[in-house]
């Protein structure tokens, strides 16, 4: 029998920044933590069921294959179970688990080694010898009649395009723009210099823009119709 501690797993945790980090756990978190630390089996199940959907979504956000996301799911909860006693309660449980999930994803990406990544050079702006911008990244893709798109579809398209970016750029963009870490925190997490993080971030954003441009053209097209 699973005890009824209700935890809303669909609530997106706030980014872990120095200014927004919550100081205390709320009542539900405290109750759950106490129960986990007591080694109550039911509470472990509650934890997995409550936070599992968000963990799986985060893993799918960072990792390309469903198999990797499933493995990351297991590794995340194992790491959570092992570190329950070390949790310092300087964030919500959701934020803490999200941090562990991201860490597990990054470890998995690193463990896969430095594969030959697809180049994104063709998606970046081009400058002439005087340093003037010579090519905008506007796409020539044509729009089909009836090719409508709504907000939910747009979200899906954006997520798919983020997922299509090479690991190096995708991870930087997710940490900085989606998970809300500062550029300095992103650099620290990735073990690179702030300058390198800024370069990767700029390239990732520019490449994403180039990939999304055709969809934006379609939206504009339909908005104009």
């Amino acid at each position: 029998m699973v005890r009824a501690i209700r935890v809303d797993s669909r609530t997106k945790p706030r980014p872990m920044t120095a200014t927004s980090r919550p100081a205390y756990l709320d009542g539900k978190d405290k109750k759950l933590l106490k129960c986990l630390r007591a080694g109550d089996e039911n509470c472990y199940e509650i934890l997995v069921r409550s936070f599992g959907p968000r963990v799986l979504a985060t893993a799918r956000q960072y990792l390309r294959s469903d198999a990797d996301a499933a493995d990351c799911f297991q590794d995340t909860f194992l790491a959570v179970f092992e570190s329950v006693d070390k949790f310092e309660q300087r964030s919500t449980i959701a934020t803490w688990i999200r941090g562990i999930t991201i860490n597990q994803c990054l470890m998995r990406i690193r463990a896969q080694g430095r594969r030959q990544e697809d180049s994104i050079e063709h998606l970046l702006p081009v400058f002439d010898e005087r340093g003037d911008r010579v090519r905008s990244y506007t796409s020539n893709r044509s729009c089909g009649i009836g090719d409508t798109i709504d907000a939910a579809q747009m979200k899906r398209i954006v997520r798919e395009n983020i997922l299509s970016l090479p690991d190096t750029f995708r991870v930087t963009l997710l940490l900085r723009d989606i998970d809300g870490y500062s550029t300095k925190e992103t650099a620290t997490i990735l073990g690179i210099s702030v300058t390198a993080a800024k370069t990767r971030l700029h390239r990732a954003r520019t490449a994403l823009g180039a990939l999304l441009q055709p969809e934006m053209e379609r939206l504009k097209y339909h908005a104009d119709v």
Binding site: S9, R10, T11, K12, Y44, E45, V48, R49, G52, P53, R54, L56, A57, R60, Q61, A70, F73, Q74, F77, L78, F81, E82, P125, F127, R130, G131, D132, R133, S136, A152, M154, K155, R156, V158, R159, I162, L173, D177, I178, T183, K198, T199, L201, H202, R205, T206, L208, G209, L212, Q213, M216
Partner: protein, 81 residues
């Protein structure tokens, strides 16, 4: 005045307000004078927002439930460790 390439190199710092007053002014001036870069900055902001929005709550990317075998495996994984 900055070239487009030089401005591009400053983009992240420009958006993060991490430039000296002089550099900030030079970037601002470039954007005022260069239509291409002004459009680029506008789109750049738009795509950052679009990216954030794609993961906003309510988030369709978050499944309502996790496959039962994954939950069972995670709990079994714990017991075996």
């Amino acid at each position: 005045m900055l070239t487009c390439k030089e401005f591009d190199d400053f983009m992240v710092d420009y958006l993060e307000q991490d430039l000296s007053v002089w550099q900030k002014f030079m970037c601002w001036l470039h954007v005022k004078m260069c239509r291409e870069c002004a459009e680029f900055v506008r789109d750049y902001h738009r795509y950052i927002k679009l990216g954030r929005k794609a993961y906003d709550a309510p988030d369709e990317a978050v499944p309502d439930t996790v496959p039962e075998e994954l939950i069972k495996a995670a709990l079994a994984h714990r017991e075996s460790n």
